[in-house]
Amino acid sequence: MIKGLFDGKRWSALFAAFPEYYIPGFLMTLKISLVGLAVALVLGVIFGMFSSSKWKLLKIISRIYVEFIQNTPLALQVMCYYSVLPMLFSSSGFRIPKFVLGVIGVGVYHGAYISEVIRTGIEAVPKGQSEAAASQGFSYLETMYHIILPQTIKIIMPPLANQALNLVKNTSILAMVAGMDLMYFTDSWGADRGYFAQAYFTSAVMYFIICFPLARLARYLEIRSMRLPVAKKLDIQADEEAV
């Protein structure tokens, strides 16, 4: 049994520290998660399209990005953004704001994964679909927009939600570089007072608060996308009358 988990004194110490530590940490994590997710989605869609495009150069660029990011640890990447990236700008004293650092960190990392999710999603749609679209005179973008992507979404929704949830949880890596996020403040308060059970339990609950609605939303979208497509009701009668 974890000692002192139900100790009232420790919990009241936690509630006293709550506004100073957990609220700013929670907001920072939430902000980084939302903006990071947007960045990851944009990068993912762009590079996902690149890797399923016809031009070889785009494919190669996308491959390099994905392989490099996928096969190196996030902790190392964040460390690199933190200490090496500023040197590109100036040799002394330039600092990337922690929020931007977090957004770049998780955004670029999960962008690579999402790009893979999207690539596999596009490739999973049978080739006959795009050939049929081509035979009907659809352009590449029209094919993508009307035929391929709607089918892709169904396939990619579950792995995409997975990535979104992982992204939220991976923001905790920022604590390593004093990122002022939820994990940072949890460590800070927990280590300060020694009430680790309270500190980490509360932190877990707060991550859950962010992740759980996201998971439910993803599930809802997944179920909705699985509904069989219903043909649009065209106003055929009006046409007939006109004839």
Partner: protein, 298 residues
Amino acid sequence: MMKKMLSLALAFAMAATLTACGSKAPEATKAPADTKAAGSSAEATTGAGAAGTAAKDVQKIIDRGVLKVGCKSDIPKFSLQNTATGQYEGFEDDLAYEIAGSIFGCSAAEAKEKKLVEFQGVTAKTRGPLLENGEIDLVIATFTITPERKETYNFSTPYYTDAVGLLVNKDSGIKSIEDLDGKVIGVAQSSTTKDGFKKYVDEKGLKVNPQFQEFDGYPALAQALATKQIDCFSVDRAILAGYVNDGNLILEDRFAEQDYGVAAAKENTGLAEAVEKKVTSMLSDGSMKKLQDQWGLQ
């Protein structure tokens, strides 16, 4: 053709994993027994603690035949793990041997020779939980005594008094504490540096208002200073001394005199008593001073 080759490769991979499982089996069967033993001993120590009898927790350690001590592994002179031999060497480690000697009824040299102390490297963050869950019996790891911590752990009389110092890059142009206004000071998690700094500045009537950032471990702090992500690295001077190099220097200012104590878990009162007796006797007969001189500590 391609498919056939793939299935062949898969078959090989599966065969490989199967044989791997086979060869590992003896180890796997052995492992649960070990963990069981470890688990029961951990339970036993907590059981003794709950009973609250004074000598029982000490008896437990004597029965086990080894005193488990949490020490830092990265502080020169205090407690540094020798990378070649894996041994812990320093003032705090010798103190651990002294305490072990008094518990097992032998001299410190004998305790060292018989390996009666089992060291475990700890950080500012891990030492508390390790002590609380009974993984280690004592923490002798530049652990500053504070009123809040006294509520959670059993501290001995201070065995060393240190002050906090400020390490800055030479090319940063920071000459004294006054230059730190608006700068970023890196401190270690679970350290008392922040409060000490504010108190010192208030006492001197200076208007210095830096920003504090906490890091997990001293190497991370040293790295952040080297890459100029923080302007100043501020922890106990004993620890700072290990990170001085050509590019940085320690400022004159010293503040927040703080006392290091040996910590035991709150319920291990018998052990705390034994430690307290040893530390006070070492302080009164001058052997503590001798030990500090031996390691070159002022």
